[in-house]
Subunit: 448 residues, 2 copies
Amino acid sequence: MPNITLIGAGSASFSLSLIRDVIVTEGLAGSRMTLVDINEERLNVAATLANRYRDEAKADLTFSATTDRKKGLEGADFVICAVKIGGYGPLEKEREIAEAHGYYRGIGDRVSCYYGGVGAYHQLRFLMDLARDMEAICPDAYLIQTANPVFEATNIVTRCTKLKAVGVCHGHWGYRAIARTLGLDLEDVGVLMAGFNHHVWMMRFMYKGEDAYPLIDKWIEEESEEFWRDGEYAEEMAPGVIDTYRLYGCFPVGDAVRCATPWWHHTNFEAKKKWFGKTGGFDSQIGWTNYLDGKPKAFEKMQRLANDPDVVLTEELPLKAGDEQHIKIIDAIANDKQKLLELNIPNNGCIKGIPDDVLVEIPVVVSGGGFQGVMVGDFPARVMHNVMIPRWVRMENILEAFLTGDRRPLVLSLMDDGRTRSYEQAKGLIDLLLDQPWNEEAAKHYRW
Amino acid sequence: MPNITLIGAGSASFSLSLIRDVIVTEGLAGSRMTLVDINEERLNVAATLANRYRDEAKADLTFSATTDRKKGLEGADFVICAVKIGGYGPLEKEREIAEAHGYYRGIGDRVSCYYGGVGAYHQLRFLMDLARDMEAICPDAYLIQTANPVFEATNIVTRCTKLKAVGVCHGHWGYRAIARTLGLDLEDVGVLMAGFNHHVWMMRFMYKGEDAYPLIDKWIEEESEEFWRDGEYAEEMAPGVIDTYRLYGCFPVGDAVRCATPWWHHTNFEAKKKWFGKTGGFDSQIGWTNYLDGKPKAFEKMQRLANDPDVVLTEELPLKAGDEQHIKIIDAIANDKQKLLELNIPNNGCIKGIPDDVLVEIPVVVSGGGFQGVMVGDFPARVMHNVMIPRWVRMENILEAFLTGDRRPLVLSLMDDGRTRSYEQAKGLIDLLLDQPWNEEAAKHYRW
C-alpha cells in the first residue's frame, strides 16, 4: 500500500481532511502516512489528531511525524506539498508597502497570498529544494502540488525536473455556486472547465443535456438586479463576474472570479464594492482581514480538539469523502482506477495556442498510467488574447527572473500592471520589497 | 515576362523607384507594368514620369495606367500594394482626439500612420477587398504587400485567403546606421534580424566573423555620452534604444526603435526628448510634422518634373538598384533566382513560441518555388514575453475586431495601454473615434 508524505502537515485541519479521505477510500487501507512540518507544535497537534481520528475510525493506517523533510521523503510513493513559507506577516507588510506606491491590495495575483511575496521567491525556492530532495530520495514518487502559486510553483517543477508532478486546486468547484444561483439541480449539470490555475473558465455549461449559457443570460436579464440589491451575494455571480462574461464572452469560475477579472475592477475599494459587493469581495481589506483573522482561530480549535480527549473527532469531521482531489489522485494511480479530475499538468496541445510546457488546469484522466489531459481545443478569442496570454506571460516573467536571478523580468512584468504610471514607480517598488529583512536571500538572488 | 500591377501608384516617387528597379534588373526586360490609383491627377503624373524614365533608359518595359482596380488586375502575375486610404487628414484628427483623452500622439503603433486610424479599419478593408478581387481575377498572382500596417494587413490576407502574399518593409536596413555609428565597414557586418514588422530585433550581430555585440557595449561605455551630447543623433542609437537593449537584452532595428521601445519612453514630449533627442524623434509632434510637411512638397516636385520636358529624369534618379525589395522578389520568383531577403511571411515554426499562422519578419529565401523562411529558433526571453507576445496579441485583437465586427477587442486592447486609467476612458475614446464622419462605415462595422 502507498506511502504518502504530507509536506506542510502543520495545517492540521487540512491534514485531517486528507486523512479522512484516505480512511474512506477503500483501496487505500494499509497506507502509511508521514506528516512533515518544521513547526513542531503544529506538527504534534496534527499527529495527535491523526492518530485519534484513525483510532476512532478503526482504520488500517499508520502515521509517523517528523520535522526532517529528507527523512519524511524516504520511501514515499506520493508527496503532497501544502506549504506556505514565512507565514502571512511579511506578505501583509509587502502589501502595505505596495499600497503606499499606488498598488491597492498589493502586486500579487489579486489575493496576493497566491505568490507569497515578491516574485513568489520563497515558494519557488522551497518547491525547487523539495523537488531536488525528491529526485535524490524518492525519484519515482508523484508530487501532488497544492501550494500556491500552483501555476508557477508546479510549472517550474515540471519544466526543470523529471518528477511526475501535478498541480491541485479546488477552485473549479465554484461552478456549483453558479448552478445553485440559477436554481439548477447539480446532478443534471455538466461543465467543461479549462484555463490556468485561478484562471479557469467555463468552456461548456450544460443542463439536462442542453446548453445552459442561455440560462445565465436569462438570469442576468431577469434576476441579477434583485440578487445584487443588498450588496451581499455569492461572489461567483457578482456584477464583476457578469461584466467579465460580457467583456470576454466566457464565464470565469472559482478563484478566476478575482484573479481573471479585469484590473479595472480592482483599482480601489470603491471599485471592489461596485463589482464584488459591499465588503469588496474575498480579497478586499475587509474580506481578506476576515480570512486572516480566522486562521489563528482555526488552529486554536485544532489545539483544543487535540487536547480534549472527550471530543469525538469523527463527529467534528464525519467519515465522508470531501471535495479535495489529492487522495482521489492517489487512489486512481495506486489502484489503477480511471478517474476524471480537474488538475494542472503541462498543456501538450490540449489548449490550442498555449505552448506544450505551460501548466494548464483542465480535465485530466488519472489512472495507473499517470495523467492524460483532455483535449480542450480553441479558447474563445477575447479570453485567450486579453486574459490567458497575459497571465501566461506573467508566469514566464516570474520563472525567468527566478531561474536567471535577473530582477528585470519582475520590473517589466509590473510595467504591464494597469496601475503603473512610470518605470521609476515599478522599479522602486520591486527594489524596496526586496530590501525588506525577510527578503534578504531573495535580494541576493535577483540582481540588476 | 511578368505583368506587374502597382496599386497605389499615385505615390509617384515610390512608383518611379520601383520602375527604376525593374529597368536595372536584367531578367525583367520585357515586363509590363500597370499603374493603378483612384486619384487621376496623381496617376497621370506617375504615368508621365514612368514613360519618360523608360524612354530615357531605353528600357524594354510597357506601361498602362488605370483608375479601375479590377481592370488593372487582369492578367497580373505580381500585385504590389502600396495604398494609404483616406490620406493623412483624418489620421491627424484622430490623433488630436486621442491626445485630448490622455493618449499623447494617439493610440496607433507610436507613429500612428501605421494603422491609418482606429482599428486599422480602412487599410484592412481595402486589403481584403483587393484580395477578393485578386482571387476572382488573378488568383495565381503574388501579392507583394507593402501598405501599412504590414503586420495586420498582410496577416489577414495570409489567414483568410489562398493568395500567395508577402509583406515588405525596409525598416531592417536600420542596422546599417548602427554599424556606421560604431565605425564598422558594412561589407564585414553580418546580421540576423527577426521579429514582427516594425518589431525587428538583431538576433545576431557579427563583424569580421565575430560577435559584434561587445562593440555596442564598448560604444555605450565610451562614446554614447559624447554622441548624445547635443541632442541630435541617429535615432537608431538613441538613449531610448540603448535603454531598450539594456532592459530586454537585444537590440531593436529600424522602426522597432519607435514601435518596440517601451511605452514609458513615449508618454509625453518630455519623455520623447529624454529618450530620442531634442526633437523627440521621428514620431514626436516635431518629427512627424516635418514628415507630413514634406509630403505635398515631394508631390509638387514630382509634378514639376513631369511637367518640365527638359529635366533629365535619369539624372534625378540614377539607374542604380535601390534598397526596396519588391522588384528583387519578382526577379527571384519570375526567373527562379534564389535570393535571401528580409520579408514578412507566416511563421510556420521559424520563431519558436509564435503560432504558425502569425506573420513574422525574418530572413526568407525567395525563388521560383516561392518563400521559404529561415529558422530563427528561440527569441531572448525578455523580448519574447514583454514585447513580442504583447504585440502579437494586439494584432490578434485588431483582426478579431475586424473579422467579427466586434468593438470589444479594440477597447480591451486599449485597456492594455500603459496610459489608460479607466475603462470609461478607453471605451469613450474608441466610441468617439468611430463617431467621426470618416469612420461612418467603420462605426457600422464594429458593433457593441
